[in-house]
């Protein structure tokens, strides 16, 4: 089962690799733009997928086994978000990939780093000026924290309560990711609607469960 979920989560990445190797990716009008949207979209969907597991389990008792995959899907969200960030750094920013590769081939191991240093000021400038990049990066940093603290060992070390508190940040990350998308697209473009709608439903479900719990607790208290 676990292998199957791994495969499903890797399917988009494998699809992209296949496009690269059979040449169709290069034939896309704007390959860099394609990769950026592809990885960004899948980061968002994976994130929403991991967020959907708890509400689904509460609604359908038969699905309670899916909890085993929540962390895994969340980590895949981090995986795609990282690819998305790397796409920005290596392909979008003006980073000279060809020069970096040529340097490596010629035995200059520091060449990729030299190239990065050359483009660094532009990226910092971008980050300073553009709100959508700021929120996008913030979402990635949150996912990084969650990924680093995800192993069982760290959970035990932190204590369940603290760990849960930190990991509730996933909702912030999902919200920031949606805002990132909205701020990126041109006015009049509605493509981020679907992810926003799904996130809203998931957040409402969460709020609903919390409210129901409070009512139940309240009733239980008053019956004593």
């Amino acid at each position: 089962m676990k292998v199957l979920v791994h495969l499903l989560c890797l399917l988009p990445a494998l699809f992209l690799l296949r496009m690269y190797f059979n040449g169709t990716l290069a034939l896309e009008a704007d390959p860099v733009n394609y990769i950026t949207h592809f990885t960004g979209d899948w980061a968002l969907w994976m994130l929403l997928g991991s967020l959907a597991i708890t509400p689904l389990r509460r609604l359908f008792a038969g699905l309670s086994w899916t909890i085993r995959f929540r962390r895994m899907i969340g980590l895949y969200a981090f995986f795609y978000a990282t690819l998305h960030l790397l796409t920005y750094v290596l392909l979008f920013s003006g980073y000279d990939v060809a020069a970096a590769i040529a340097g490596l081939r010629a035995g200059h191991l520091m060449e990729p780093w030299t190239q990065l240093k050359m483009i660094w000021p532009t990226m910092l400038d971008d980050l300073k000026k553009r709100k959508f990049i700021q929120v996008g990066l913030a979402a990635w940093v949150i996912l990084l924290v969650l990924a680093v603290t995800s192993p069982q060992k760290v959970l035990r070390w932190m204590g369940g309560k603290n760990w849960a508190r930190v990991h509730r940040l996933v909702y912030v990350a999902a919200g920031l990711a949606c805002v990132h998308y909205w701020w990126l697209v041109k006015t009049g473009v509605r493509t981020p609607w679907n992810v926003t709608a799904v996130l809203t439903v998931l957040l409402l479900a969460r709020a609903g469960f919390t409210a129901m719990k409070k009512v139940r607790v309240g009733k239980a208290a008053s019956s004593f």
Binding site: F15, R18, M19, Y20, N22, T24, L25, A26, L27, E28, A29, D30, P31, V32, N33, L91, F92, S93, G94, V97, A98, T122, D125, D126, K129, R130, K131, F132, W183, L184, K186, T187, G188, V189, R190, T191, W193
Partner: protein, 319 residues
């Protein structure tokens, strides 16, 4: 060979594909695309070829971009911002077959001595066409190098004799068909405009084709303008009306977000779009996977021809 002397001859009835055949072809295409997945891109080509015809008698031209390779035709025809047919840049190539380009009339009206409605064929044959290679810079910071076929808009303008009061030219595109489920906030039809001197600049091209073929629907068939020193959205597609007016006309993107899209929208590396830098662009003119990021040129490299028109203007304010 395109013989467009009158309406009957625009497309000989023998050449018109029967509806059944066309729909069968569409169905066929869809199933082929579904089957091939990513390779479906190639399967979209036959329909393009069907829609387009070779333009004969193109005359030589001085307009070229010697230092940059031409964008592969398939890329130029599959990556289009044409919101009437979808928001993703790959949507118009899939959806623009819905655009009915025949019959087509262009009304030239407003403050002119000789207003006139041109049948498409008349407009097509008004002047000899040139194949001009222009840099094409999208406001989204990517660019292409495209051979456009047409003649200077000035040639058309001269025939209708604008009155001295005419200070601006407004272009109105074909009405968007179909309802919007989620409102975009865009007030259709799409409209754009130029100052009179910009419209009269020989660079401004009344465009009927690209790559030696009549325009594909997703490129704004059957007739559009190309204003190469401005961001792409200034170059209105599928034009049905050209209006000469006294005051600066409203333009679609400016109405939608005036802080992002000014009336002039000249390509200018020193004035950033609020959400991205305009200093560089991703040049899409090869089938390489690696991005080619090049510095953006002032007025998209056409400063020699157009800069005098803006002498003394603050281009930060008049972005």
């Amino acid at each position: 060979m395109l013989l467009l002397t009158d309406r009957e001859k625009e497309i000989p009835s023998s050449e018109i594909t029967p509806r059944e055949t066309f729909e069968a072809f569409q169905m066929d295409r869809r199933s082929v695309m579904a089957g091939l997945g990513a390779v479906g891109f190639a399967a979209a080509l036959p329909r393009m070829a069907r829609a387009e015809q070779k333009i004969d008698g193109l005359v030589s031209t001085q307009y070229a971009v010697p230092d940059r390779a031409t964008t592969p035709e398939a890329k130029a025809k599959s990556y289009n911002n044409f919101y009437e047919f979808g928001e993703d840049k790959s949507d118009p190539a899939k959806n623009a077959y819905k655009l009915k380009t025949y019959p087509w009339n262009v009304s030239v009206e407003g403050l002119v001595a000789k207003p006139r409605t041109f049948q498409f064929g008349e407009l097509f044959h008004l002047r000899p066409m040139e194949s001009r290679v222009y840099r094409f810079r999208c406001v989204e910071a990517w660019s292409m190098v495209i051979p456009w076929d047409g003649f200077s808009l000035a040639e058309l303008i001269k025939t209708v004799e604008p009155l001295p009061k005419a200070k601006f030219v407004q272009f109105i595109s074909a009405e968007k068909s179909g309802e919007e489920i989620l409102p975009s906030g865009i007030d259709w039809p799409y409209t754009e405009g130029l100052r009179m001197d910009e419209a009269m600049n020989p660079l401004t091209l009344l465009t009927f084709g690209s790559y030696g073929q009549t325009l594909a629907n997703q490129q704004g068939a059957p007739v559009r303008v190309i204003v190469p020193w401005k961001y792409g959205f200034k170059s209105a597609k599928s034009i049905v009306k050209i209006k000469f007016v006294e005051k600066m006309p409203p333009t679609t993107w400016n109405e939608l977000a005036s802080d992002e899209y000014g009336f002039y929208s000249n390509v200018n590396p020193t004035v950033d779009h609020p959400r991205w830098s305009q200093a560089h662009e991703r040049l899409l003119n090869s089938n390489s996977i690696l991005p080619k990021v090049v510095p953006t040129l002032m007025f998209n490299g056409y400063a020699d021809q157009v800069a005098p028109m803006y002498a003394g203007m603050d281009l930060r304010k008049n972005y």
